[in-house]
Amino acid sequence: MAAKIEYKNGILPSSAWKPELTRKAYGEMLVELGRQNPNVVVLDADLSESTYTKYFRAEFPERFVECGIAEQDMMNTAAGLSTWGFIPFLSSYAIFLTGRAWDQMRNTVDYSNLNVKIAAAHGGISVGKDGCSHQSMEDLGNVMGLVNMTVLVPADYWETRRMMAWIPQHEGPLYFRLGRERVPMVTTEETPFVPGRAVEVVGGNDGTFIACGMMLSRAVRAAELLAEEGIFSRVLNMPMLKPIDEEAIAENAAAKMKDALARRA
């Protein structure tokens, strides 16, 4: 019989994945946004080679503010720029932005509800060989509790590009998490990014994986392996963690609960 796994919304099977950097997509899109919108300004704290803001710096030096190695100052300089109607994008590594500059993020940017876009590279353990000082297991926990903050975690290169195209339309503080290493391009240009909504990327009724960021490819791979054993799992991509798509979670949980109750009866 061999039922086939059902890929949806432009998602690719693992056999077709190629690795690419999310932070590179960030750097490329900054330039595109800079061309479209004169209000886009970019700040960095001596990491523009690594965060790929170097592309923007080269094309728009007058709209690039190098803050040196001073993340707290950078966060609040961006806050001040935003009061003039600029859309500041600032970048550093996730652990430094949400650790060292958390107070600035909380008390100035978030409390004043300022239009500051915080791009955090090197999220999670994706930093790899740099070790614990540069890894960031805490960043999402540190930003999820902030009242006005919107939180995004793109799965791959293409999703980063789609998010970046949307971000200037969003008003208010926003945090998005990029990685250090190349991650599989599991989505394609056809995969939709709908703010606040989860998107089904693999169909199935035997269970549901909900994933975001680099774990999306792991979830899809898990679904593939389970499919080989005749178990068909749904995979939901949840790129926006705050506000989160509660409905999608509730629907899937309810369906599962109904199944479980039916089996018990």
Binding site: N76, T77, G80, T83, W84, N107, T108, Y111
Partner: protein, 314 residues
């Protein structure tokens, strides 16, 4: 030079002195009524910030988002009572509303809130942050092509122990941000004692000069010296047509609780509200003779907010 519409009151030195006396009066009653708040710093900075708000800060009180305005950032946000009293005396809202300070639902939060009170440029309260924000605002004015819009920031002296301050000082010196003016309330008092004993910040003028700032020292309770100091600062800015390529700082030598006689220069008054008998003594030292606290409070008028209301709240 771009035409710069000026919107200030141009009070005489004597009028400024009398306004500052009333501002002190209001601050003491606010903290007394709220049974909380910080009277110490507001009373030490009252003279020089009254001069700034009445005579130098371009603003339109009934239109707080007026494009041509200067910006003011109270980095030491705990001195909010002073910020609010100055706004009332400048015409943002009636003085009577000051007595809602620190009560539930008021726009006059314990520390200034941008989302609550139109005219507050950014929320402050966590010390050490305002100067970086003010610098970002000054850079924003420059990037918008209006460097004559001047950004004023006030810090406490104890606040200068925060690392973020020196990141901002270094940044503004490096970028030659000459539309940024910082005032420091140098009263040598903080919660745990005298600043020089807690963690000394001297030699302060040398520190700023080493970070490429121009520095001026003034007596923060001598109105003539205060006016000279603000004139000195503005003379180096694009607003006066003399961009000097350096940010400016004025170190105002002040006394905590200035004007209250026996209560002056005691660090304990940083964050202690005066009780009824104490506030009566303080008001008397300032030259106000009331029969009771109630009578003093009534002198401020009705507690109604009659200032600008944002579109989304109407």
């Amino acid at each position: 030079m771009r035409e710069c519409k000026l919107s200030t009151l141009n009070l005489t030195e004597e009028e400024l002195t009398q306004t500052a006396r009333l501002v002190r009066h209001d601050i003491l009653l606010m903290c007394n009524a709220a049974k909380s708040g910080h009277p110490g710093g507001p009373l030490s900075a009252a003279d020089y910030l009254t001069a700034l708000w009445m005579n130098y800060l371009d603003c339109e009180p009934k239109n707080p988002f007026w494009e041509g305005r200067d910006r003011f950032v109270l980095s030491n946000g705990h001195c909010s009572a002073l910020n609010y009293a100055l706004m009332a005396h400048r015409g943002y809202f009636s003085r009577g509303y000051l007595l809602t300070f620190r009560t539930l639902g008021t726009r006059l939060q314990g520390h200034p809130s941008k989302v609550k009170l139109p005219g507050v440029e950014v929320s402050t309260g966590s010390l050490g942050q305002g100067l970086s924000v003010a610098h970002g605002m000054a850079l924003g004015a420059r990037m918008r092509g209006v460097p004559e819009r001047t950004v004023f920031c006030n810090c406490g002296d104890g606040e200068l122990q925060e690392g973020n301050i020196w990141e901002a000082v270094m940044h503004a010196g490096h970028r030659e941000t000459d539309n940024l003016v910082l005032s420091v309330d140098f009263n040598n008092a903080q919660i745990d004692g005298y600043v020089e004993n807690v963690k000394g910040i001297e030699p302060l003028a040398d520190k700023f000069e080493a970070f490429r700032w121009r520095v001026h020292i003034a007596n923060g309770h001598d109105m003539s010296d205060i006016v000279k100091a603000w004139e000195w600062a503005l003379e180096g800015t694009p607003k006066r047509g003399h961009p000097c390529g350096q940010p400016s700082v004025i170190l105002f030598k002040t006394v905590m609780m200035e004007g209250t006689g026996e209560f002056e220069n005691i660090p304990g008054w940083h964050g202690r509200p005066p009780k009824d008998d104490e506030v009566m003594k303080m008001l008397k030292a300032l030259g106000f003779d009331y029969g009771s606290v109630e009578e003093a409070r009534a002198s401020l008028g009705e507690a109604v907010y009659d200032g600008y209301v944002p579109e989304e709240e109407r």
